[in-house]
């Protein structure tokens, strides 16, 4: 296997982009990544997208997008793994470059979510759960995470306020991110007074509905060293694991086993442990998710995730800053795009380009992206040379 570097990253505009279509925002992000990389060709492409079909009625995305990007002849493939689509697309691109099959691979993620109403979006997102044995009974994604929250609270004594602190921290980070969809700060009181979505989760515990695209260009490390004028960011660890799609089929409802396994593989490959990670971007689709994820990643002890945001441990300046971009919560969550957007944040932090939210001395970042209630997870570790 060859060493692989991320040589270019790009984001489209994020938010409720009423005037922009799925293909346009993807081309924006991909063009930005290609320009950032300074490459003159793309050999192959992977695009993560959860549900072009349900959100905009469009499938066969890889061909559409390679066409609109002006690279219509290349092999292109759309990757779907619910909200982990972006992370899985990244891993497929990584494997392709590492294997020697191709040199310059574009990995992207895109989701255009605002062309359906709220109930339509709730429906589309719920297709990531078991249609016949979860969704048939009326469960939603906030509902599934709310059930994890209730279990975590009842079992480990995690408090409603501690959940709110995750939102407060991530919004504080997001307020420093010019690309964030909701770059404002929130208070614990504000979270606790926001409207209930699925008890105990309120609207400010939930990531928003976002239109957005992200892209990264991968190439062999040797090539990157010749080509790039920026600090070289290398992929040092990659882990991917799956779990039962139905939450009720898990032995332990709050242990994200796929995240744990993917992290173990990534740590082993990178020959590091959780203590050697400088910062992390994790899948905080709901406040409770960040708590369960940091436990599964080994950043905190099992059952102790609740206190991390409140104590400042996971805030900028803390021992292990989590979601410096604002996370899915404040930056936005275009579902199939999120995994790539995390790579964008990691790369910019490692290159020292993150401005006000820069993690001082950022050497090694971790990105964790998950689909459904954790039925699929990728963990990637990136290091600056």
């Amino acid at each position: 296997m060859r060493d692989v570097a991320v040589i270019g990253v790009g984001l489209s505009e994020w938010g409720e982009l009423w005037k922009r279509s799925l293909r346009e925002i993807f081309v924006d992000a991909a063009s930005a990544a290609i320009a950032d990389a300074g490459v003159d060709r793309i050999d192959s492409m992977y695009v993560g997208c959860m549900s072009g079909g349900l959100f905009v009625g469009q499938e066969h995305l890889a061909s559409l997008l390679s066409d609109y990007l002006g690279v219509a002849s290349i092999p292109a493939c759309r990757v779907e793994s619910a909200c982990a689509s972006g992370g899985v697309a990244f891993r497929q691109g990584y494997i392709e470059v590492a294997s020697g099959m191709n040199d310059v691979v574009l990995v992207g993620g895109v989701e255009k979510m605002t062309d359906v109403g709220g109930d339509g979006a709730t429906y589309a997102l719920a297709t990531a759960a078991d249609q016949e044995y979860e969704v048939y009974h009326g469960v939603t994604f906030p509902g599934l995470y709310a059930m994890m929250a209730n279990e975590h609270m009842s079992r480990f004594g995690t408090t409603r306020e501690q959940l709110a602190h995750v939102a407060v921290k991530n919004h504080r980070h997001g307020a420093m991110n010019p690309k964030a969809q909701y770059p404002f700060e929130v208070t614990v009181e504000g979270v606790l007074k926001s409207v209930l979505v699925a008890d105990p989760l309120r609207i400010l515990d939930c990531s928003p509905i976002t239109d957005g695209a992200a892209a990264a260009v991968l190439c062999p490390l040797d090539m990157a060293k010749k080509l790039s004028k920026k600090p070289i960011v290398r992929v040092v660890g990659s882990g991917h694991s799956t779990d039962s799609i139905a939450l009720h089929d898990r032995e332990d409802l709050t242990e994200l086993a796929a995240t744990k396994r993917a992290a173990e593989k990534a740590y082993k490959m990178a020959e590091v442990g959780p203590a050697e990670i400088s910062f992390a971007e994790v899948h905080d689709c709901f406040t409770i998710a960040e708590i369960c994820v940091i436990e599964a990643l080994g950043l905190v002890e099992r059952g102790k995730g609740g206190t991390a945001a409140e104590s400042g441990l996971t805030a900028l300046g803390g021992r292990i800053p989590v979601n410096t971009s604002g996370g899915l919560k404040s930056k936005g969550h275009p579902v199939g795009c999120t995994g790539i957007a995390q790579i964008v944040e990691l790369t910019e932090q490692l290159r020292g380009e993150s401005g006000k939210r820069q993690v001082k001395g950022a050497k090694r970042g971790l990105a964790q992206n998950m689909g459904g209630t954790g039925g699929s997870t990728t963990v990637h570790i990136l290091e600056v040379e």
Partner: protein, 130 residues
């Protein structure tokens, strides 16, 4: 919902038909062709018991399209006697009275309907045990 998709799951929706692995005894609901525990491929028919305990739950206030009329409603993960867990609505109980650890039993209810002219979808829900 197209009728064949609903119809196919009737044995599980109506009668909680499950499969018990002849090798290791694990009960799968819905039945599977390969045991998730031991990989066995032979099963005995089994019916899930109708009594259980609420492991966790939530109140759905923002519902997907076909459930909008029902909101707010409670959904829980219920561990049935014998250990199999299912996701089901908890009904006939004031929302504020639902508790983790609460004893419930299965009742036959309407789950959803495809508009006012489409097929009516039935199945199991949980109600407080008397």
């Amino acid at each position: 919902m197209f009728p064949s998709r609903y119809w196919r799951e009737i044995p599980q929706r109506y009668r909680l038909e499950a499969a018990k692995c002849t090798g290791c005894g694990k009960v799968s609901f819905p039945p599977r062709s390969k045991c998730p525990k031991c990989g066995g491929v032979e099963f005995d028919e089994a019916r899930l018991p109708e009594k259980g305990v609420v492991k966790t739950f939530t109140i759905i206030r923002v519902a997907p399209s076909q459930f909008v009329e029902q909101a707010p409603y409670a959904v829980g993960i219920v561990e049935l006697e014998g250990g199999v867990k299912i996701t089901a609505q908890i009904v006939d109980c004031p929302l504020e009275d639902i508790k983790i650890g609460q004893k419930v039993r299965i009742e036959f209810r309407r789950l959803q309907e495809d508009g006012c002219s489409g097929v009516i979808c039935y199945g199991y829900k949980c109600v407080p045990a008397l």
